[in-house]
Subunit: 356 residues, 3 copies
Amino acid sequence: MSQKMTHKHLAELVGGELIQGDPDGIVTGLNSVAEAEPGDVTFLGNARYLTALKTSRASAVLVGPDFAEPLEGKALVRVANPTFAFSSVIRHFGPPARDFTPGVHPSAVVSPKAVFDPLKVSIGPGVVIGDDVSIGAGTAIHAGVCIGQGVRIGEDCLLHANCTIADRCVLGCRVTIHSGSVIGSDGFGYEFVKGRHAKVDQVGIVQLDDDVEVGACTSIDRARFGRTWIGEGTKIDNQVQIGHNVVIGKHCIVVAHVGIAGSVRIGNYVTIAGQTGIAGHLEIANQVTLLARSGVTKSITQPGAYTGYPARPLIEGRKAMVAQARLPELMDRLSRLEKRLAAFEKAAESSTPTQG
Amino acid sequence: MSQKMTHKHLAELVGGELIQGDPDGIVTGLNSVAEAEPGDVTFLGNARYLTALKTSRASAVLVGPDFAEPLEGKALVRVANPTFAFSSVIRHFGPPARDFTPGVHPSAVVSPKAVFDPLKVSIGPGVVIGDDVSIGAGTAIHAGVCIGQGVRIGEDCLLHANCTIADRCVLGCRVTIHSGSVIGSDGFGYEFVKGRHAKVDQVGIVQLDDDVEVGACTSIDRARFGRTWIGEGTKIDNQVQIGHNVVIGKHCIVVAHVGIAGSVRIGNYVTIAGQTGIAGHLEIANQVTLLARSGVTKSITQPGAYTGYPARPLIEGRKAMVAQARLPELMDRLSRLEKRLAAFEKAAESSTPTQG
Amino acid sequence: MSQKMTHKHLAELVGGELIQGDPDGIVTGLNSVAEAEPGDVTFLGNARYLTALKTSRASAVLVGPDFAEPLEGKALVRVANPTFAFSSVIRHFGPPARDFTPGVHPSAVVSPKAVFDPLKVSIGPGVVIGDDVSIGAGTAIHAGVCIGQGVRIGEDCLLHANCTIADRCVLGCRVTIHSGSVIGSDGFGYEFVKGRHAKVDQVGIVQLDDDVEVGACTSIDRARFGRTWIGEGTKIDNQVQIGHNVVIGKHCIVVAHVGIAGSVRIGNYVTIAGQTGIAGHLEIANQVTLLARSGVTKSITQPGAYTGYPARPLIEGRKAMVAQARLPELMDRLSRLEKRLAAFEKAAESSTPTQG
């Protein structure tokens, strides 16, 4: 982490413009706004860190196009997207990525019926690969990964240590699976017969298309038959549960602890925030955003943001949330009204002449 | 997947009756209602797929006893339970189940003190088995599974790749554990002493009775002492957390992301739907159903369905949910009432003769 | 489990006082209140078990300083903290802890660049240890654990079977990680560029300070850069998700299924109960307690207990919960009020003389 660089070079590296500071000033590292030391580059990726930035010890800051704060004593580099641009800084100063080491570690147990070019894949210690598995060039499989029979894995995939890919699942190209995750566990299907839960065979597969990423400790169940299918470019976080026969479209985001029950069908560009649950057999339209902790109990046919349990359009859901927060006040107002009306009715009664 | 079959044979295979279609017509595969192609068998397991069935390209359909829709051009086979009957079709057309290969893979590390018949169990690559473990005939232990010391495993169990069974836990017969799951992690118990959390030793075990199935990435903690105990035939889904000293009865269903805190006691035939939480030390009666996302804060002593947080009997809980959805409307009505009453009071005041 | 002991010795063992029973009476084992048999010691750690204790078959009971119930036929030992004191009883009667066996199992794959004293660490079967890893004396690494490159592990740590520690993470002394957990998975960070989610490199680390314990199937993501940091003595349960760049202080408790989004900063002595979620970039003050299933959407700056979604101070949150439970009743009362006022308005109208 010590390849020092001038402010001028920093601006070139990130494709930005040095709008303040000495072009020949030197930066030597990087860190967050709060933890930066003199010599570090940082970035303002979120306006909420502006206050902290004012007291940050960083020497240089990547800022967005709208940035117009006075910030003395720091070099400022203007870029279109500071968060994204900072990746180049990380690549410059950060630790090198782990090498791709082609070959099969001697402790790996690889079926002679598996098909791959041993000079173009990297298979780590203790990996187990079953019969009839195919693996594309450029794919790295780290220590302790278990791959069942008949699995097909595309090119340039990265399987982190101790994940599991069960029989016959299919991974496209550039798929990443993090540690502890399980692709192709059985769907949760039973029929209640004579007082017992009889297992319904789960003989389908999981298919992950190109550029899918699956976080750590996530489980994706195989289809009862056919396939559980995750579309191109969709990113799934840690601790997620995806049931059998679920279909998720392209370029979706599924955040941690989300649970999606069996046979749900989700469109493209859908975002599902953390701890959300979706009941079985529902459909979710394209470009829907489900806010954190939503509980979806009906299909959603229109794009837009939804929240709450049961999930409702955002404005409606927010209103309900505000109303809930005001409930104790509401109860007081109701009690007062009842008393006022009762008093009024009593007064009226006593002043009303009897019908004669 | 190509053992073709006549409609007549299909009806025989599933123990049903061909109520429409040519007995000698041919089916060649199977798929879901939506994905079926000509030549495929499908089934109507849920009335919500009826519309889709009408445009399905399937050639033959398993339908239930009440089915009475016109559905031209398809062979119809009537059975008692289409979902369950379809399993026979899957077994006919689907991929063969993985072979049971007796023997111990040379890469497995098995304690010489473990007790089993190597001709009758299947121990895969990279498996680790500790001292004093016993394993019944017919049990298969897949790649990468780690089994601690003194574990007892019955007959015909199936332990999927990369699961972990910790010291001294006990599994009955026909128990299935999916990948990534952990049986016998320490209970979460600390006492706060002198400003620090001091660990309370967890020396009990987990006992899983016959025919229990545990999904992927699920954790079941060992008892502080004694046992955490899952009764016969109970099925547990993925991503579930079961705390120390929990007792679950027979033939229960525990769906994904459920969390059950320590020392909870659950009866028989209980269903706990997804993302539900149960607080510590509670009791749940036989034949209780907890709907998805319930939060149980008190013991439940009567059978029946419960929902919400805090969990309440279904009718009551549904009413509360409806009321919550109408809260913004309720607030408007309350404001209008206040105005009307205020106007009325003002009018009354001005028309009331002063007390003289 | 058969080292019998007199009541007198029992009192000495737990540092308590025998307040009832024969000093020379014999106990031979231990169990919970409900499962104890004659000869067993049990303890009353929670007043809710008092009723059960009265019919328990236990011969001796550890009770707290305030215990003043008549309880015939049992030896009673008074101690300051029955739950904690019972640990000594467990250690006396319970199974021996697993031996620490120094050395490296021949099936482990250990980089020649890893640094440790092979006579002072215990490395189990199938363990994989990468380049430049350092391991302190007294640390045990159980079967199937995968440790990436450049990881630093302190003294007397315990890594249970099949957990994963990814590249460059840092563990202090006496850190325990349970099975299936993943330390150092990538943070969930993408930027949306040209219709696709482009991965934001995650090059930071996870640092776990001394005496941290992490349960089973839990994931802690590495920082984007810098570190995700868990403070000394903090205990984390199973199935927890901790996002990138989160900082948790000292001596906190994080219960199962909690999800903490990226860049959250949490103080010391914070308790986060089960199934709680905390949104990204928030701050939580010292000595905050979040009750089960809370959803935190704003920073919390004051110590104290909070509950609900959105999380509020406990009294306020409880009021809202009570009000919610009374909502259906509230709606009825509101409807009645509307009718009464309407009737009254109508009556008033008909009795009001027309303005002439």
